[in-house]
Structures are given as C-alpha cells and as structure tokens.
C-alpha cells in the first residue's frame, strides 16, 4: 500500500487528523496508568499467606478480666477442643489482616539505633499456635512446650523469652544471603535468637513493601492473647466458628465474643481495594468505548466528505478492497502517531505519580500493551466507516453531489 497519498490527504485535513491522534494519545496514557493501578491492586489482593487460610476460624474475646487470663485461657481452649471436627486450637494476640498490629523494630546488633531498625509485626503464640495457624517451617524448629510455658509478658510490651521464629522475608531483609538460624534480633535491652524460619505470613496490617515482615514469639496464657484460632477441615469451618462463638460467650458472659472465618477476614480486609480495582476497570472500558465512538464519528464524516473522490478512484479501477485498505492504513498511521505520543505521556504521568504518590515504576511492557489495545480498537472502529466507503459506487464520480 502506497502511503504517500494518504499522508497528502491527511495534510489537507489537519484538524480532524490531529484530533484523532490526540484522542488516541490521551486514551493510551490514561489506559496504561489505570491498568497498571489495577494490576498493582490485584497483586496486593492476591498476596500469599502461608497459613491454613481456608481451614481457620478466629474467635475474638474482648473485655475479659485480665487477671483471670491464666486460668480462663486453658479452660476456653479445652472447651473449644471439645467441639466435633476441631483439629487444632490455640490462642494468639492477633491474626494476619486483622488490623490489630503489634509493631516493633529490631536490629541485627545490640547497638542498632531506632532509626536503622527494621519494622516488623509481632505475633505472640500460645502453645500449639504453629499447628492452629498451619505455619510452614522452612528451617529449624517450632517452639518447645517449655519455651511456651516459660515466656511471660509482665509489664513489658514484648515478651520475656529468648527465642523467635521469623518469616523468610524477615530473614532475607535482616541477614541477606546468610542463614538466619541462630542469629539474634536486638532491641535494647531485649534479644531473641532465631530458632526457626517459616514461609511468609502476612502482617496484621499490610503496607506495600513489607507485607511479610512478621515474627513469632511463644507466650504462656496472658491477657494479651485474645484471638482464639480454631482449625478444622474447610467444610466444617463455618459450623465450628458458630459453635465456638457460642461456647466462649457462655463461658464469659461479660466479654464481647465475635467469630469469623479467616476467609471472611481476608475478604473484608481487601474489599475496598477490590472495589477500587473494579471501578478502574469500569472507567477503562467506558473510556475505550468513548474513544472508539469518537473514531467512528470522525471517520464517518471523513468518508462522507470524500464520497466523490472515492467514486473517482473506484471509476478509475480501484477495487472495494483498495478503498477499505486505504481507510484502514490511514487509521493505522493516525493510531501509531497517537500511540507514540501516548507512550511518552504514559511514562510522564507515571513519573509524576511516583513523585507525588506511593507508586512504583511502571514495567516496560505496559505502554506496548496499551499500544496493541489501541491499534486493535482503532482498526475495529474504522471497520464500519471503511465498509461504507467501499460501498460507494463508481457512478458517484459522475454526479455533482
């Protein structure tokens, strides 16, 4: 296909041509960034979490008498174990994605300054917490019964023990390229030796970069432990959560007892993010539709304006295919110009967002992806008007209108 006549004709219709280029450029820029945002949210929502998410129910007990914790917790656990279908039970201070964060900062040597320390979320596990959550051990071991029994909290914000289990993310962040087992986490005057490394578990409150910075400590029955984690087969879970909630509120009538399956906790945590993602999808679709209609409208007008010229070309031997091809090529050229401009714009917007919002760099393949989408859209939009152009009979050339 010869493109010089197309270029010549475009030069004569500068304004409509520029409008189509501009429209495609803007659509390309907005589309790339919107899809990138959607992608980031999808990644956030699907973060892995190495606990038995489908089998876990969580019952929270708030407002129980703190002085009675040491007698009430074993009693409550015994009652929960008695429910048919329960495989494991334990009590913890919080669970992933519960928004109840126990943050702390640790360093890798005794003199680490607070500003250099690494922020992590602390999980205190009652005895059997590893089994109830379904933690997956990579190296080392879980806590022993003695370590559970000897660990007290007292008036300290952290626990009085000397052992800790960390996730692989923490291990890599603290001791890159080295084995973490046997290393020590410091937070003056406290020190904890790593006895185990587990597969990544999410924090109670996830922020973008350090989602898996979790560490686990053993703890004997204590008022800080108010999350009862009940593990079962997934099909028994909802029944067990209900029964467990009933059982615990009977045992402690003044406490506020609430039960949820972990899948509900996860869905609730990410609900806002996923609704935002859907909204972005909606905007993208509508925007593409508007762009497509715009191209249809402008090209139709163009075709109508050039009916005579088309008729002449047909009369001097051009086939319908030639006419179709002419408009398709023309659209391809305009789209290409728009896409080049759009890609530059997309990167510029991304750069701006990186500066002003917590946005990461857009991977290189987003703009080419957007380009392909817009090329396809352009070709699809031009199909109708091009067909109509091809249908112009040669005889039009001989008429005055």
């Amino acid at each position: 296909m010869e493109i010089r006549p197309i270029l010549a004709s475009l030069r004569k219709h500068r304004i409509p041509a520029i409008l189509i280029v501009l429209e495609i450029a803007l659509a390309c820029a907005v589309l790339c960034n919107a899809v990138f945002m959607i992608g980031q949210r999808v990644v956030d929502i699907h973060r892995t979490n190495a606990i038995d998410e489908r089998g876990i129910g969580v019952i929270t007990v708030d407002g129980a008498d703190p002085k009675m914790a040491s007698s009430e917790i074993p009693r409550n656990l015994a009652r929960l174990r008695g429910i048919a279908g329960v495989q494991a039970v334990a009590v913890t201070n919080t669970v992933p994605l519960s928004n109840n964060n126990w943050g702390w900062a640790f360093g890798t040597n005794p003199d680490t300054r607070f500003n250099d320390a690494v922020n992590v979320s602390a999980y205190f596990l009652g005895e059997g917490g590893d089994k109830a959550l379904g933690l997956q051990l990579l190296q080392g071991r879980f806590f022993s019964s003695d370590e559970y029994a000897d660990s007290k909290r007292g008036s300290m914000p952290l626990v009085d023990t000397h052992v800790v289990i960390v996730t692989q993310s923490v291990a890599e962040r603290m001791w890159p390229g080295q084995p973490a087992l046997g290393k020590v986490l410091y937070s003056k005057p406290l020190a904890y030796r790593v006895v185990g490394v587990v597969v990544d578990v999410l924090r109670p409150f996830v922020n973008s970069q350090r989602a898996w910075h979790s560490v686990f400590f053993p703890l004997s029955p204590d008022s800080a432990l108010s999350y009862y984690v009940v593990r079962s087969a997934p099909q028994d879970r909802d029944r067990i959560v209900l029964q467990a909630q009933q059982a615990l509120s009977e045992l402690d009538p003044i406490a506020v007892v609430k039960g949820h399956s972990f899948t509900d906790i996860r869905d609730k945590y990410f609900a806002d993010m996923s609704s935002m993602a859907w909204m972005l999808v909606l905007v993208c679709i509508v925007m593409l539709a508007v762009t497509a209609f715009g191209i249809v409208g402008l090209t139709s007008f163009w075709v109508q304006q050039r009916r005579r010229q088309i008729g002449i070309r047909r009369a001097v031997g051009a086939t319908r295919g030639h006419i179709m091809q002419y408009f398709q090529t023309e659209n391809f050229l305009l789209s290409s110009a728009g896409i080049v401009l759009g890609m530059v714009l997309a990167f510029a917007i991304n750069l701006y967002l990186m500066h002003h919002y917590e946005m990461t760099r857009m991977p290189w393949f987003y703009p080419p992806g957007g380009a392909i989408a817009l090329w396809a859209l352009g070709q699809l939009a031009v199909l109708g008007p091009a067909r109509r152009a091809a249908a112009v009979p040669p005889v039009v050339a001989t008429r005055s209108v």
Partner: protein, 435 residues
C-alpha cells in the same frame, strides 16, 4: 436573536440524532465521572468545624532526647502526659483540652443486651465548648470535677437511643469496664468529618459514643487506643499500663481567638520548652509547631491518596471525552457547511455564525450536564456501596450541583470553539458553488 439561534440549534441537533446522542453521551460520561470523584474529594477535604476551625490550634513540642536531633524535622505529633498536663494547667489559651482515645466495654443493666464495646474519648473539660459539641440533655463536667476524677460520663445520641430509647438519661447510671458512671450529658448527633482532633483513630465517619474525664481514665487505667511513640527507654502503653513520660500519646488543642493570641501562644510554647530544658527534662533546642485545624489536616494528608488518584484519572477521562466531542462537533459543523454558506451569502456575519454554533454546543453541554448529573448521582451511589470509612459521606451538595452544570457548559463551549471557528472560515461563494 438568541431565541432564533436556540431554535436553529435544536433543529440541527434533531436532524442528526446519532451524532448528537454521541456528543451528549461523551460529555455526560466525562462530567459524570469527574463530578463523582470531585464530590468525594470535596466532601473529604471539607472543614470539619466551619467558622470555628480557624481559632483552634494543635500544639506540638519536642521532648525527645538528644539522639538523632534534627531541628528541621517535625516535633512528635502528640504530647507526653506530663507536658500535656503542664500546658493544660498553665491555662494560657482561651480554652484548652488534653485528650486521648480508647474503647471501653459497656455492661448494660438490661439483660436483653449483651455487653459491647464503644469508642471512648478521654478528655479534659473544655472539649465540648471548644469543639461546639451540641448537647441534647444535660451538659459536660466542669474542670474542677474533671480534676477530682469524678465518675461522670457524657454519652452520644446513638448510645442513648440504644440503651434508653432516646429518653433523657441524665442522672442515670452507666456501667463500663466494671465501674458505674453517672450520665451528666447526652450529645445530639455530632460527628465532625474528618475526625480532626485525633487522626489516629480513623479519619472519617468515626465518632466516640462515650466521653469521660481524662483524670478518671488515668486513675481507672481504662484501655486506650491510638498511637504511642516512644524514644530512649520509653515503654508501656500495653494493657493497663500507662505509657511512660518518654512516650507521646495525647493530643493537646488550644482555642486562640485572635492571630495575636496564636503568636503569643507559640512564643509561650518556646518558653515552656526552654524552661523544661533548664529543668533538665528537655534536651533539644525548642522545636514547636502550632497549626490550626485546616493546616493540621493538610499536614497529615488526611484525604486518602486513592481519592486524589481517582480524581486525576476521572479528569483524564473527561479530557478524552472532550477531545472526542471536539472531533464530533467538527464533523457536525463541517457537514453543515452548505447551510452556513447560504446564511453567509444572505448577509450573516462571521460573528453571528460563530454565536449560533456556540449556542448549539452550549445546548449540547446543558443536556450533557443533566446526563452527567444523573451519572454522578449513580456514581456516588456506587461509591457509597464501597466499604471505605468515608463511603457513607459521598453525597452531592448544592454547590457541587452548580459546579456540575458550570463545568459541563464551559467544557462544551470550549470544545465548540475550534469547530465553530473552523466552520466560519469558509468563504460563502465557495460553499454555494461546490454544491
């Protein structure tokens, strides 16, 4: 003339229904999306206490140890208990309040109700007057009663409705965390948005249901929530242990009725810091801040960045729609070149044609604005279905309604400028001849 042009515009718009519908739809979609996000932004960045927020100031001082000192850095965002009480007792502002938040279990006397948690605000006495909290029944406690650690409580309307069916409950007893409190006041519905006086406990659609004297909370060691920042050997703040004096965990607000007083108060904070340094408590050079409500909200970047992003995206979308409208309008006007040529030949000036075409685009803008309004209402309904804490606040107000139409008409007129100018350029003779 205007009426005649309007008539021409309507005729012309009716002639090519498809093209008109496309233009109206594009404008409506763009306006709908951008007005939805703009309304959310407008609601979220609003003034929580109009008329009053300018004279309410949030005080920050720097009691941290010398380690890592950097005077260009901001002082801590809250105050320690000892500093808070010192500032409170100094009484240098017109009114002042020291406060923190938490949650307490309510143990209702009615056996039909299970115990439940409510959000609590522990504060000194001036809180209600300073923040203009409206009382339905009774009133707050006095400063002297607060210092005397009275077991008194002010409850919110929602709690009063739940426990006492909305009756005047002043003088009745409320049992919380194992202690009996006498109800001295019931607030009418009151929920400043954003929750400016303590941003740690959620910024929007958050309200406490019980208000207790701070000193009473300190004595009873009631549970507290929110953020605690410590340095050096600071600790505590877990369970019923109060944070130590190396931790900031309270908010201090001062009401200063004139800029001169605000300047004087800032001076006072510097002197206070110097005094404390002389006493050996503070180690750093004075580093104080005094921000009014809107400055404080701005500093804390209260409006979620997601909302700003959405707004940017929506305006990008509006731009796409507008370029699209320019294109369609161009197609429409150029198609009418013959008609315009005749009018020109009959003596209409370019100016007159231009006015006529602009009126036509204005009509498109107006109709698009109506469509955009409907779409924005639908969009806001969608936003309200979302689980965010601010979702319930997304409602269109009168000013936004006005903005919608102005934006729609202005945007369309702007979009009409180029096509109208282009269409007026054609020489009348040429148009007549070619047809």
């Amino acid at each position: 003339m205007f009426g005649y042009y309007l008539d021409l515009a309507l005729r012309s718009l009716r002639r090519n229904k498809m093209l008109t519908a496309l233009m109206v739809l594009a404008i409506a979609l763009g306006i709908g999306a951008s007005m939805t996000t703009l309304t959310v932004l407008h609601v979220l960045s609003g003034d929580p206490l109009p008329g009053r927020s300018g004279s309410l100031y949030y005080a920050q001082i720097d009691p941290q140890d010398i380690k890592g000192m950097d005077s260009s850095k901001e002082p801590p965002e809250q105050v320690t208990l000892i500093d808070g009480l010192n500032l409170l007792h100094a009484g240098r502002a017109d009114h002042q309040a020291l406060m923190t938040g938490g949650s307490v279990p309510v143990q209702p006397e009615q056996s039909s109700l299970d115990p439940f948690y409510v959000e609590a605000r522990y504060t000194s006495a001036d809180f209600f007057g300073m923040f203009d909290a409206p009382f339905l029944y009774g009133q707050g406690w006095t400063a002297a009663e607060g210092e005397a650690k009275v077991r008194e409580v002010v409850i919110a309307k929602s709690l009063n409705d739940k426990l006492f069916d909305g009756a005047n409950s002043v003088g009745r007893t409320l049992r919380m965390a194992g202690t009996s409190f006498r109800i001295v006041g019931v607030l009418d519905s009151w929920q400043p948005n954003p929750h400016f006086y303590d941003l740690n406990s959620g910024s929007y659609a958050y309200g406490e249901e019980v208000f207790l004297p701070l000193q009473t909370m300190l004595e009873l060691r009631l549970d507290r929530g929110g953020s605690t920042d410590c340095w050096g050997n600071g600790g505590g703040g877990v369970g019923n242990i109060l944070p130590s004096n190396d931790c900031v965990w309270l908010q201090f607000w001062a009401q200063l009725d004139s800029p001169a007083k605000a300047a004087a108060y800032q001076e006072f904070l510097v002197h206070y810091s110097l005094d404390q340094k002389a006493l050996g408590r503070f180690q750093r050079v004075p580093n104080v801040r005094l921000r009014n409500v809107m400055q404080w909200l701005d500093y804390n970047k209260v409006v979620p960045s997601d909302v700003r992003l959405q707004n940017g995206l929506a305006f990008g979308f509006l731009l796409v729609c507008l370029v699209n409208t320019v294109g369609l309008m161009l197609a429409k006007f150029m198609r009418r070149a013959a008609e315009l040529g005749v009018r020109r030949a009959l003596g209409a000036s370019r100016r007159a044609l231009f006015a006529q075409l602009l009126i036509e685009s204005g009509v498109v803008g107006l109709v698009g604005g109506v469509g955009g309004l409907l779409l924005a209402m639908f969009g806001l309904w969608l936003v309200r279905q979302r689980p965010s804490d601010y979702a319930a606040l997304a409602h269109l107000d009168l000013s936004m309604l006005f903005v919608t139409f102005v934006l729609a008409v202005l945007a369309t007129l702007l979009a009409g400028l180029l096509p109208a100018w282009r269409a007026c350029q054609i020489a009348p003779a040429l148009q007549l001849k070619s047809n």
